[in-house]
Amino acid sequence: MVIFRERYGTEMRKFLVILGKIDRRLIYLLVVIAVVLPFIVKIHFPIFISRETNGVYTIIEQCPEDKIILLDCTWDAGNRGENWPQTEAVMEHLMRKGTKFAIMSRIPQGTGFGREVAQKVAKKYKKEYGIDWCNFGYLPGEAAMIQALARDIEGVVKKDIKGTPIDSIPVMKDIEDIHDIYMVCAIAYWPSEDWLRFVQGVYGTYIGFCSSAIVSSAMYPFLDSKQLCGLLVGVRGAAEYERLLNIKELGTELIVPQSMVHLLIVILIILANIGFWAERREKKIISK
């Protein structure tokens, strides 16, 4: 050991110092390899279902036939990577179970994405627009709109996205206010807490959030206080939901490169810290 340290000690120390100064372009290359590799070579990682994902699944499973689920698809291209697989997984569940639902969006871009996912899943289950689901379109007004929608749906949404009066759409038959909606599932980069303030807190309606991972930490207190019935966290949530449905779609596909890149980041953080400590030690030796 002593001979090894004497012979290779200096080289080893220099090597360790280099670890803290890896060129950013090399890091980019490693990231690209970690992301691309799972798309070319089949790699599988086990998926464990969390309590928060199970919460959304359980409430949708319990939805009675005379009620609908409201999907607030407030996401756009900027967060497609997380919200698309989440929307797809939830819609897959709704259409497979035969639960009727309505889509709405609080941003103009969200209506198109919601419709696109619904049409994709509907093809698989041969579901029909108007009978199994409908699209309210873009509903501006945030908190004021949410409060008004809870009191009187037809008062806020006079026509659907195709211009059909809401009272003549079969899926909306006998659906008048929030009491006819079993659960609101808000799918967004940062789902609006107004659903908790003005719907869950006032009427006790189940609220589920499908958020980006970045804001999920802020959502956990709502789970603990039972204000949220469930939460899908980023791609992980979508993959777990697909596991519950026993399907392998986009979420399952995207979680593998995600795990690979996380592993790479952990390794790089460890290496950078070794480099940092080695450099500090080197400076001490030189100063002595």
Binding site: Y28, V32, V35, V36, F39, I40, G78, N79, R80, G81, E82, W84, P108, Q109, T111, G137, Y138, P140, A143, A144, Q147, K158, K159, I161, E193, D194, L196, R197, F198, G201, V202, S212, A213, I214, V215, S216, S217, P221, F222, D224, S225, K226, Q227, V233, G234, V235, R236, E253, L254, P257, Q258, V261, H262, I265
Partner: protein
């Protein structure tokens, strides 16, 4: 997606990714295209889906005598136009009417919302100490709260240690926040790579 759409989307993606090498005119061109598209789309969607069916059509119907009170919608326009008096030094006070109205309505809704959202969280923090999770939760809560006592100096050593522990626990939570940030950023990147490989280059699948 059609082949043409896929190619357009792929070129746009690569143009934005070119920023990773360095700032370049190709990136800037597509950045401006995106901005223009997003604003144009929002304006047209707002007019088609919101303003026209919910404000313009009822107002015109009112003026034409189809509905009795539809013309009253004209006051919504007048109220909205008051915002623009912010640009006038002389008539700036007129914009304060609509600002005051907006702040009042917003504050009222927030006041109502805060109680509804915060109270269940406060009550749920009173947990029985019958499991490891609950004990850990209560210790964390007390330590972090002690860190935010700014009214007196920490002369009593145990309190000082508790507040230091609170700071460490806060740092751990910030680490979790940052970990989630990494997760989201990579999810967006992976989605684009998946699109480029699967739909554009037709690799794998």
């Amino acid at each position: 997606m059609e082949t043409f759409e896929v190619w357009i989307a792929a070129i746009c993606t690569l143009a934005i990714f070119s920023f990773l090498i360095k700032e370049n005119p190709f990136y800037r061109l597509f950045e401006h295209i995106f901005l223009g598209l997003a604003i144009g789309f929002t304006v047209s969607k707002t007019w088609i889906d919101v303003l026209k069916p919910k404000w313009w059509d009822p107002m015109i119907a009112g003026f034409q005598g189809v509905t009795p009170y539809g013309w009253l919608w004209v006051f919504a326009l007048l109220g909205g136009l008051l915002w623009y008096f912010q640009y006038s030094k002389r008539y700036h006070w007129l914009s304060r009417i609509v600002i005051g109205f907006t702040i009042g309505a917003g504050a009222g809704m927030t006041f109502k919302g805060v109680f509804v959202v915060m109270m269940p969280q406060i009550t749920s923090s009173f947990k029985p100490l019958n499991s490891f999770n609950n004990i850990f939760f209560v210790i964390t809560l007390l330590c972090v709260l002690s860190y935010f006592f700014f009214s007196f100096q920490y002369k009593f050593r145990p309190i000082k240690k508790v507040s230091e522990l609170g700071r460490i626990l806060l740092m751990i939570s910030f680490g979790a926040f940052f970990g989630n940030t990494v997760m989201t950023r990579f999810a967006v990147f992976i989605d684009r790579i998946q699109f480029l490989l699967r739909e554009w280059l037709k690799i794998g699948g």
